[in-house]
């Protein structure tokens, strides 16, 4: 009897690393399945009704920032605060437009100081950049995104298309999986996308990373049925 139990015990201790490894993988798997299951489900009312939610807003060149500002004007800014704006390092105008918006809000509400921060992020790849150097710049950009996300740890992410939102949204999703911070990710596909999604939109849709995915034209809703059709925002 003693010999048997001793034998079993030694078997277990020699298999301990493997057992731990299997347990670890199983926990990760369950966690991933749980996150995927919870993605897209509305937050429970009790938890969020009182507290404002820290919000990350991703801006982009061209029409992206104009569309985002258009959306921000109708959101409940008292409940989505503090706000963090991120734009690509080479985009000079977007952060300026966001500053103007925040200043006008601060002026009209008479609040001294702004509950908003403005940050720039390295671009993964500039237009026309060689793919060889792009590998390194993408690594740098991803590391920079991770650094910013660790500082911000937003509870809400708003984005509408620029490539800069991909590393940020993927990291936000990883934070959910690891349990660092639960966030709700909202993606509004640009009004300029009528028949085809942008690359950012396609990635976030297919990987089920966005909690809610909005499109502005009916043709896209037919092609991507999990998207919400919300008509034109502009």
């Amino acid at each position: 009897m003693e010999k048997n139990s001793g034998g079993c015990f030694s078997n277990l201790s020699s298999n301990l690393p493997i057992t731990c490894f299997i347990a670890f993988i199983t926990i990760i798997l369950f966690r991933v399945l749980y996150v995927i299951y919870r993605t897209g489900k509305p937050l429970s009312r009790r938890a969020t009704q009182q507290q404002p939610l820290s919000t990350l807003i991703v801006l982009g060149s061209g029409g992206h920032t104009a569309e985002m500002i258009n959306l921000l004007l109708v959101l409940q800014k008292d409940r989505l605060t503090p706000r963090f704006y991120i734009a690509a390092a080479t985009d000079n105008m977007s952060l300026q437009k966001a500053r103007v918006l925040e200043n006008s809000w601060a002026d009209s509400s008479g609040v001294k100081g702004i509950s908003a921060e403005f940050m720039q992020i390295y671009r993964s790849r500039e237009v026309g950049q060689s793919y060889v150097t792009s590998f390194w710049t993408t690594l740098v950009a991803t590391a920079h995104a991770l650094w910013l996300m660790i500082k911000i740890r937003p509870q809400v992410v708003l984005c509408n298309g620029p490539g800069t939102c991909i590393p940020l949204c993927v990291i936000a999703f990883c934070f959910k999986m690891i349990g660092i911070r639960w966030s709700s990710i909202f993606y509004v596909e640009s009004i300029a996308r009528v028949k085809r999604l942008s690359l950012s939109g396609l990635l976030l849709y297919k990987l089920c990373i966005a909690d809610q995915f909005f499109v502005q034209w009916p043709q896209l809703q037919k092609k991507y049925p999990r998207a919400h059709y919300v008509c034109c925002l502009m």
């Binding site: 969020t48 061209g62 104009a66 409940r79 009004i191 300029a192 028949k195 085809r196 809610q212 909005f214």
Partner: protein, 178 residues
């Protein structure tokens, strides 16, 4: 063409906008004699070109002897004033430019830049043209579009509304409706 008491034609400005892009093909074709003659024929008196990062420089003209007055500049912090004083806008296919013009209720011809690599911009221009809010053209076909356009047949564009998205986001986050 509707001259006022002094016998001078009322000022009708065509404003051409390329935004922050480089769109030499459009600037060149607008500066061509063919297009300028057609604009004159349709009753326009002035041509103002915002040429952005392009390298082709149009030829300025004061417009004496009844010819089209031509002027240009590269950038402006806000083109809203130029859009407001225009009788016709010819624009690149950027969504910001398109909607800023449509919201001001100005007749618009959108010219798609075929040199752009991933031309998703043409989708928006073609969709809005199908809905009769603007005319859509390529640089080579701009002349025919101007000749055949009927600006009164364009339908006004009612500005969009972001509140449906806001409602869905509020509901998702558990915010009470305002």
């Amino acid at each position: 063409m509707g001259e006022d008491e002094d016998g001078v034609k009322p000022k009708r400005v065509v404003f051409v906008a390329v935004g922050t892009t480089c769109f030499d093909a459009l600037v060149k074709v607008v500066d061509s004699q063919e297009v300028k003659d057609e604009l004159l024929r349709r009753g326009f008196t002035h041509l103002l070109i915002q040429m952005g990062r392009g390298s082709y420089l149009p030829s300025k003209s004061i417009g004496y002897d009844g010819s089209l007055a031509v002027d240009y500049f590269t950038f402006s912090p806000s083109i809203a004033d130029h859009l407001r004083s225009a009788s016709l806008v010819i624009s690149h296919a950027g969504s910001g430019s398109i909607f800023e013009t449509l919201r001001l209720g100005k007749p618009l011809i959108v010219v798609v830049n075929e040199d752009l690599m991933d031309n998703h911009q043409s989708e928006l221009a073609e969709e809005l043209a199908e809905r009769k809010h603007l005319y859509c053209a390529r640089p080579q076909t701009l002349h025919q579009t101007i000749a055949g356009m009927d600006l009164k047949s364009l339908l006004p564009y009612s500005p969009g509304d972001a509140t449906p998205v806001a409602k869905l986001i509020n509901r998702f986050l558990g915010f009470p409706e305002n």
